[in-house]
C-alpha cells in the first residue's frame, strides 16, 4: 500500500445526497477515516434512488449512493433520539473534520453549530454546504443540484441557439461545487496542520457554482451584454460541433433491452473542432473532398464562422458515411481535434481510461462486485486508493460507537434497543 495523504484524519460526515458525500469521497479515497452518520428512519435520499442491482429498490442496493461513498464507514444515528445530539458530540470530539449540507436550521436546532463544536474540539474544522449559505434571505431555501444550476446562471447558457434554456442532463452543480468545497477544506486542514488553528467554512453552493459560467458575469458587468446559449458553437472555432456517423453495428451492441427511452443507443456522433485553417485543411484531406476545401464560403476561418449552418450541413453529409471511431482515429492522426461522443458503455471500454485505471471494481456485501469512479488525477507518491465498497447502513456501528466513541457494551446495547442508531 502506498502512503496515504490523509492517514490519521477522521471525518464525521453528516452530509447527504451529492455534494457533501463527494467532498468526503476525495478525502476517504486518500486515506481519511470517513464516517457517514445516517438514519434508516429518515434515509439518505440517494439510498432510495436508482439504479439498483436487479432493479430491486433497497437501502443497501443503490449504485447512485454506492459510487459516491467508496472507502467510507457508516454508523447509524437517529437525530430524533433524545441522546442523539450527545452521541454526535462524542464522535465529533474524536474527529478532525465535520461535514454537513443541511439548510442552516438543522445544526442550529441540534446545538451543533461551529461555536458549539469548538467547545468540544477547539481545532475542529467544520464545513457547511447548503445551497445558499448560512446567512441571507435565501439561506433556508432548499433544492437539489439539478435546480441550482438554474439559479447559478448555468441553465441560461444551456441548450440550442434557437431553443429555450434546458437543463444539463445532470444535477450538474453536484458535480462541480464539491471540487471547490474540497479545495477549501484541504486548505483549512493544511492551515491547521501548520498553525494548530481550526475554522468554519461557510460554503454556499450557489456562490461556487457561478464559477461554471466562464465570462457570463464579466461580459454583463463590463460590457452590459447578456450572453446567450450557443449550442455547441464557439466564437473562435468552426466547425465546432457534433456530427452524425454511421449507426453502431447492432450486432456489436450489448443488451439495451432495459432502456425505456427508445433506441438512441445505436446513434453515433463525433465532435470536431477546427481552430484555424490548418485544422480545416487537414479535415478536408481526411474527408477527401477538395470541393469542400476550396468552397468560397468555407476556405477561411471568418467564412466558416459566418456560414456555419451550411458548413455543418455539408460536413454531416461526409461524417454520416464514417464509423465514428474510424473518423476519430483518422482525424487525430492528422492533428485535428476530434472525439467520439461516448456513452457510459463506451467509457467502460475506452482504452485510454483503461490505461489510466479510472474504474475500480469493489465487492459490496449485498450488491456484489460493482464499478466505482476513482479520482481523475494521478499522484506519484500518494495516489488515491478506493479501499472498500460503499458501506451498508449502520455497517460500522460497533467500531464507531464502541471503539472510537468508547461506549460500553451495556450503553451500546441500551441505545441500540432504544433505536438511537436507527
Amino acid at each position: 500500500m502506498s502512503e496515504r495523504a490523509f492517514d490519521g484524519i477522521r471525518i464525521a460526515d453528516f452530509s447527504w445526497v451529492g455534494v457533501g458525500p463527494l467532498v468526503a469521497k476525495y478525502l476517504a479515497d486518500h486515506g481519511a477515516e470517513t464516517i457517514r452518520l445516517e438514519s434508516g428512519t429518515r434515509p439518505e435520499a440517494l439510498r432510495r434512488a436508482p439504479p439498483f442491482v436487479n432493479d430491486e429498490p433497497g437501502l443497501d442496493n443503490s449504485g447512485y449512493y454506492a459510487n459516491f461513498n467508496s472507502s467510507k464507514l457508516c454508523a447509524g444515528l437517529n437525530m430524533s433520539h433524545p441522546r442523539a445530539v450527545d452521541l454526535a458530540k462524542r464522535i465529533i470530539a474524536q474527529s478532525d473534520i465535520v461535514t454537513e449540507s443541511f439548510t442552516p436550521k438543522a445544526m442550529r436546532a441540534w446545538g451543533l453549530t461551529y461555536d458549539n463544536l469548538r467547545e468540544i474540539k477547539p481545532d475542529i474544522i467544520m464545513i457547511s454546504m447548503p445551497l445558499y449559505g448560512q446567512t441571507g434571505p435565501w439561506s433556508m431555501y432548499q433544492g437539489f443540484g439539478h435546480v441550482l444550476q438554474a439559479a447559478a446562471g448555468i441553465n441560461h447558457m444551456t441548450g440550442y441557439r434557437d431553443g429555450e434554456p434546458i437543463g444539463t442532463g445532470l444535477a450538474y452543480t453536484d458535480f462541480f461545487v464539491p471540487h471547490l468545497a474540497a479545495i477549501a477544506l484541504i486548505a483549512a486542514l493544511d492551515h491547521r496542520e501548520r498553525t494548530g488553528e481550526g475554522q468554519f467554512i461557510d460554503f454556499g453552493q450557489l456562490e461556487a457554482a457561478i464559477y461554471a459560467t466562464e465570462t457570463l458575469v464579466l461580459d454583463y458587468t463590463v460590457n452590459a451584454r447578456e450572453q446567450h446559449r450557443q449550442g455547441n458553437r464557439h466564437p473562435m472555432a468552426a466547425p465546432h460541433g457534433a456530427f452524425p456517423c454511421l449507426p453502431r453495428d447492432p450486432g456489436a451492441n450489448s443488451d439495451s433491452a432495459n432502456s425505456d427511452d427508445g433506441d438512441s443507443d445505436n446513434e453515433r456522433w463525433i465532435a470536431i473542432a477546427c481552430f484555424d485553417d490548418d485544422d480545416w485543411d487537414a479535415l478536408c484531406t481526411v474527408l477527401g473532398d477538395d470541393s469542400l476545401r476550396w468552397d468560397d464560403r468555407f476556405n477561411n476561418q471568418d467564412g466558416r464562422l459566418i456560414n456555419q449552418d451550411d458548413l455543418e450541413a455539408a460536413l454531416a453529409q461526409h461524417t454520416q458515411r464514417w464509423q465514428a471511431e474510424d473518423l476519430m482515429q483518422a482525424l487525430q492522426e492528422s492533428g485535428v481535434a476530434a472525439g467520439v461522443v461516448q456513452s457510459s458503455e463506451d467509457l467502460r471500454n475506452d482504452p485510454q481510461l483503461a490505461h489510466r485505471k479510472h474504474y475500480w471494481t469493489l465487492d459490496h456485501p449485498t450488491m456484489g462486485p460493482c464499478c466505482y469512479d476513482g479520482p481523475s488525477f494521478r499522484l506519484t507518491h500518494t495516489p488515491g486508493e478506493l479501499t472498500k465498497a460503499a458501506p451498508t447502513l449502520g455497517a460500522d456501528n460497533d467500531h464507531v460507537w464502541k471503539t472510537i466513541v468508547g461506549l460500553s457494551d451495556e450503553e451500546f446495547t441500551e441505545l441500540l434497543v432504544e433505536g438511537a442508531f436507527d
Binding site: 490523509f6 432510495r48 436508482p50 439504479p51 446567512t135 441571507g136 434571505p137 437539489f144 438554474a150 447559478a152 446562471g153 441560461h156 434546458i166 437543463g167 444539463t168 462541480f176 471540487h179 477549501a184 481550526g198 475554522q199 467554512i201 461557510d202 460554503f203 450557489l206 456562490e207 464559477y211 461554471a212 465570462t215 458575469v217 464579466l218 461580459d219 454583463y220 460590457n223 451584454r225 447578456e226 455547441n232 466564437p235 460541433g241 443488451d255 439495451s256 427511452d261 427508445g262 443507443d265 456522433w269 465532435a271 492533428g335 472525439g339 461516448q342 457510459s344 467509457l347 475506452d350 485510454q352 490505461h355 474504474y359 460493482c370 479520482p375 481523475s376 488525477f377 499522484l379 506519484t380
Partner: protein, 428 residues
C-alpha cells in the same frame, strides 16, 4: 475586524499566503492557478514574450480585440502576477529553474513530454526543489494510447461522456454549456494539487500530479456510470427533463410570466411533497383535476420508495404545471414553492444574478480595480467563506510582463545589466 456576514475575518491572509505558484497554463488550466491565488498564494503567470495566446480569447472589453482586454483572460488570471520568460531558451530555462527553487507549486498544460524535452519536467524541477508540487493538465493524461491526441473543451466533453447526456433526443448531443470540461479539469487538478500540498506539509515531500481532461469530465457524470454498470442502460439525453438511473423524469424548466423557472421534476407534484403541492396549486385555482382523490393517491409517495409514473401521467403533470407557472412571476413562485419545501429556483440571467437578493445580502460581488482603464468592474466573489483564512480577490489579471521588474529584479535579484541583457535577447 469581522465582515457583515459575521463569519469571516476579512483582514486575515488566505490559507496559501505563505506559498508561491508558477503558472504555465493556457485556457485548459488557468482556473487552477486562479483558485490557488484566491486562497492567497503568490501566483506568477509565466508567459512567452509577447503574451500568452489565450489573451486573444473573446469577449473583449468594449469588444476591442486587444491582448490586455480579453475578459476570459481577466476572469481566469485575476489574483496572479505576470512575467514573460521564454522557457524554451537556455537562459530562460535557467531563470525559470531559479524561480522553481523559490516556488512551492508549478502548474502547466504543456503536451506530454514537452517540458521533459526542455529539461523542465518533474524530474528536473524536483532536482532543484524536492518539495515542489508539479501539476500537469493535459487532454488525456501523460501516457496511454491517446496521450498525444489533440483535445479541446468540446473533445473533452465528447470523449469524457458529458455530451452524450445532454441535449434533445431528436437533435444533436450538446456540450453542457460554456467550457465545462476545462473547468472540471482545472478544479479537479486543484484538488489533486491540494492533496499533494497537504502531504508535503506533513512530510516535506513533493510530487507530480497528472490530470486528464477526459477523465475529469468522466468524473462528473452523475449516475450514468452506475446505470450502465447495474442496468446496462446508457442514459440518453433527456432534453428538458431528467433521467435518473435510466428512468425518465419529467420536464423541469418552464416559462414563467417573467422568464424561466426550474421547478424540479414534476414540480414536487410527485413524491414526498405531492399533497402540499396540489394544495398550493389549488389555492391558485390551478390544480385542475389533480385534486381528485385518485390523483392524490397516485402521486403521494411520502412513504417508501418512489414508484414509477406512466409517461401519460407525467405529461399531464407537466401540462398542469406549465399552465400554472406561465401565470406567475418567478419571485412569487420561488417564495411560495419554498414555503412548502419544494426546491424550485429561477433560471437566472446575468442581470438576474447581479440583482439577486441573496448574493447581495452575502456581499458576494467583488469590485476589482483596473487602474489603467480608470474603471472598477464587478467580479464573482469568493467561492467559499473561510472564517480564519478568507479567500479574497485582490488584483486584476496581469498585463504582459507587468511584474518582470518585481520578479526578476526583486525576487531573483538580477542586476539591472543582467535584466537588460535578457530583455535585449528576447528571453524576457
Amino acid at each position: 475586524m469581522v465582515s457583515a456576514d459575521s463569519f469571516t475575518r476579512i483582514d486575515a491572509p488566505g490559507p496559501l499566503a505563505p506559498f508561491r505558484v508558477l503558472d504555465l497554463t493556457n485556457e485548459l488550466g488557468q482556473l487552477s492557478g486562479r483558485l490557488l491565488g484566491d486562497l492567497g498564494a503568490d501566483v506568477i503567470k509565466v508567459e512567452p514574450p509577447g503574451g500568452d495566446p489565450s489573451r486573444w480569447i473573446t469577449p473583449f472589453y468594449n469588444d476591442e480585440s486587444d491582448p490586455e482586454r480579453s475578459l476570459h483572460w481577466w476572469m481566469f488570471n485575476a489574483n496572479k502576477r505576470g512575467i514573460t520568460c521564454n522557457i524554451a531558451d537556455e537562459e530562460g530555462r535557467a531563470l525559470f529553474l531559479r524561480l522553481v527553487e523559490l516556488a512551492d507549486f508549478v502548474v502547466d498544460t504543456a503536451p506530454p513530454g514537452m517540458l521533459d524535452q526542455l529539461g523542465l519536467g518533474y524530474d528536473d524541477l524536483s532536482a532543484v526543489n524536492p518539495a515542489i508540487v508539479h501539476t500537469s493538465i493535459t487532454p488525456f493524461g501523460q501516457s496511454g494510447p491517446y496521450a498525444n491526441w489533440r483535445g479541446s473543451d468540446l473533445i473533452g466533453a465528447a470523449m469524457g461522456g458529458q455530451m452524450y447526456l445532454n441535449g434533445d433526443p431528436e437533435r444533436e448531443p450538446l456540450r453542457p454549456t460554456v467550457s465545462q470540461a476545462y473547468a472540471q479539469a482545472s478544479l479537479q487538478a486543484t484538488v489533486g494539487t491540494m492533496i499533494a500540498h497537504f502531504h508535503r506539509t506533513r512530510t516535506g515531500q513533493g510530487q507530480h500530479v497528472d490530470q486528464s481532461l477526459q477523465e475529469a469530465a468522466t468524473y462528473a457524470l452523475d449516475n450514468a456510470m452506475a446505470t450502465w454498470d447495474l442496468r446496462e442502460v446508457n442514459i440518453p439525453r433527456p432534453g428538458n427533463g431528467r433521467n435518473i438511473g435510466g428512468y425518465k423524469f419529467g420536464r423541469y424548466i418552464y416559462p414563467a410570466a417573467d422568464g424561466h423557472m426550474s421547478a424540479m421534476s414534476y414540480g414536487g407534484l410527485f413524491g414526498l411533497t405531492a399533497r402540499q403541492t396540489i394544495d398550493w396549486l389549488a389555492s391558485h385555482d390551478a390544480a385542475q383535476d389533480l385534486v381528485e382523490p385518485g390523483w392524490v393517491a397516485k402521486l403521494d409517495a411520502s412513504q417508501g420508495v418512489i414508484p414509477p409514473l406512466s409517461p401519460e401521467d407525467g405529461q399531464h403533470l407537466a401540462d398542469v404545471l406549465a399552465a400554472f407557472i406561465a401565470q406567475h412571476p418567478r419571485d412569487l413562485l420561488m417564495r411560495e414553492a419554498q414555503a412548502i419545501r419544494n426546491g424550485w429556483a429561477p433560471v437566472n440571467t446575468p442581470k438576474d444574478l447581479l440583482e439577486n437578493e441573496q448574493l447581495i445580502a452575502r456581499e458576494y460581488w467583488t469590485d476589482v480595480r483596473h487602474e489603467e482603464l480608470d474603471r472598477t468592474f464587478t467580479y464573482p466573489g469568493p467561492w467559499a467563506k473561510l472564517s480564519e483564512t478568507p479567500i479574497t480577490i485582490r488584483r486584476r489579471a496581469p498585463r504582459i510582463g507587468e511584474h518582470n521588474d518585481e520578479v526578476f529584479l526583486g525576487l531573483l535579484n538580477l542586476s539591472a545589466e543582467q535584466f537588460a541583457a535578457h530583455s535585449g535577447s528576447g528571453v524576457i
